[in-house]
């Protein structure tokens, strides 16, 4: 099953065609938490990989790499399945943990679009404030697919 309706796919192709730099999706497989009852028929890792590969097929600037032994990948993952979004091949700490389905597919598409920008879409004032940051922050955003 395609991940987008045809009109949505055309829009995503258009957006991906406008990317200003390459974006790599690194799909990492590893031990997964036991899924909830009712979700046992879903292979979360395989579906995550399929979504990443279908996204990469929608734009020349978007590529996908699959890591079955992520410890050797030089990219740190905390849980699986995972997708790291790398702007111009650089790991800046962007992750999606879990299967990016339903509403959350838009988050992954959004991550690709943001990573594909050469200049930040944040306000200048925000960038000034971030430039003064003197400690490390790990921001986790818990989401659901609906």
């Amino acid at each position: 099953m395609a991940i987008f309706r045809s009109d949505e796919e055309a829009k995503v192709r258009e957006l991906f065609a406008a990317l200003e730099r390459p974006v790599e999706l690194v799909v990492a497989h590893g031990p997964e938490e036991t899924p909830l009852p009712g979700a046992r028929d879903i292979d979360f890792g395989a579906e995550t990989q399929r979504i990443a590969e279908e996204l990469a097929a929608l734009g020349d600037a978007v590529t996908v790499r699959v890591e079955d032994e992520p410890a050797d990948a030089g990219i740190r993952f905390e849980r699986y399945p995972a997708v790291a979004v790398l702007p111009a091949g650089e790991d800046v700490g962007i992750r999606y943990y879990g299967l990016p389905w339903g509403y959350e597919l838009a988050s992954l598409v959004g991550a690709v679009l943001e990573a594909g920008r050469r200049t930040s879409s944040l306000a200048a004032e925000s960038l000034d404030r971030l430039a003064g940051l003197d400690r490390d922050l790990a921001i986790d955003v818990f989401v659901t697919p609906t």
């Binding site: 920008r117 971030l130 921001i139 986790d140 989401v143 697919p145």
Partner: protein
Amino acid sequence: MLLAYRTALASPRIRAAAIESTEFPTLADAMDVWAVPRIVVNGVPQWDGAVPERVFLDRVLAPGFE
């Protein structure tokens, strides 16, 4: 979610992750996830819901996240 990703892109000191709650129920329980999006900074639950960019930065840049 995109605000968190934007801050990670803009600062080498920030990393940002989306976590699908239903797939990681143990972690979601530990973070008291009842509503989404729930924002957790350095392992400490902070707030639920989308907020404007300025408010997002006010909160994540507030002192205390060492």
